[in-house]
Symmetry: C2
DNA sequence: ACCTGAACACCGTTCAAGT
DNA sequence: ACCTGAACACCGTTCAAGT
């Protein structure tokens, strides 16, 4: 059932992912969904876990850039994926794995940094998908030629700043 | 009218900020709002600009940490402020000012870095407000003692990583 | 110029009742 | 155990009509 929700999300986007529409998709009455999930929010949390499912488990010898890209790609693999993860982050059942993977890649750096990297990735992916949606709707007020150009540039610049191997960090 | 929306947002939160409720607040029929704004999304974009209004204009001699903190504080000043800015970022009328201020503080560093910092701040503030809301509702599944403890630690760690003055950057 | 009244096509959620 | 039917209290948006 989270599979159907995931597929519907990718097809219609988060604003149009309603319980009623999902029920129609499953050829069931809307109220039937509430036997399986207590609320839409819990349903979305399960969907968020599915989205982050593909990020590999924590490993010590992986570069930060690789882990960060894997998380970003997982978020971008479904329409509005980043926003779904973000909106259900409070009850992080599956976000922990992603953060553990980042922590492992950062090695002995302060733990707060892993959280900061995760927040950057989520912010980046959410804004990117936001722009994609805005462009598909049409109305670009000042009309930059391509909203997703410079995509990787910004992401790479961010990850480079976070990576302890790409710069000498100050001792204190 | 954006003032009333801003006040209502802060009182009831984004999920309960409806056009009908705002109309009631203004003692007007819901349809009256559509003479002033073509849609709820445009109304929210105007609210987002108001939220970022207080961040100071770009200045060359300001430390990154100061600008970043000013933007974060502006986002946190109203309930769900970060999410509002994020959801209307595509039509960035007021987000440009914030990004220009970051660019100025970063000096001659690559421009993509300013965007990355802004994305980090937005991600950080959104997740923080998400946790605040989840905690007020009650249900903390694994119950970390205080969801906002380590607030500044994560933020500071992120900004320190971005600040060219806090670490020697590699030449390439 | 600015607002009302009424309608249209939707929401999430609950709950008795069915099988 | 799993679903239906019907209801409750809402949404955003449009549009003729009023002043």
């Amino acid at each position: 059932m989270t599979t159907a929700a995931l597929e519907l999300l990718d097809r219609v986007g988060l604003p149009d992912l309603s319980m009623r529409r999902l029920a129609t998709e499953l050829e069931v009455q809307p109220s039937a969904l509430y036997w399986h999930f207590p609320s839409k929010q819990v349903l979305l949390a399960a969907v968020a876990d599915r989205i982050l499912e593909t990020v590999p488990d924590a490993a010590a010898d992986v570069r930060l850039a690789a882990v960060a890209a894997a998380i970003r790609d997982a978020l971008l693999a479904y329409r509005d994926g980043a926003e779904v993860v973000m909106s259900t982050y409070a009850m992080r059942l599956g976000a922990r794995r992603a953060q553990d993977a980042l922590q492992a890649a950062l090695g002995d750096a302060e733990p707060a940094l892993a959280d900061a990297v995760f927040e950057f990735i989520l912010g980046h992916a959410t804004l990117l998908q936001q722009r994609m949606h805005a462009q598909s709707v049409g109305a670009a007020p000042d009309a930059g030629p391509d909203p997703t150009s410079g995509l990787d540039e910004v992401f790479d610049a961010g990850i480079r700043a976070f990576d302890p191997l790409s710069a000498a960090r100050r001792p204190a």
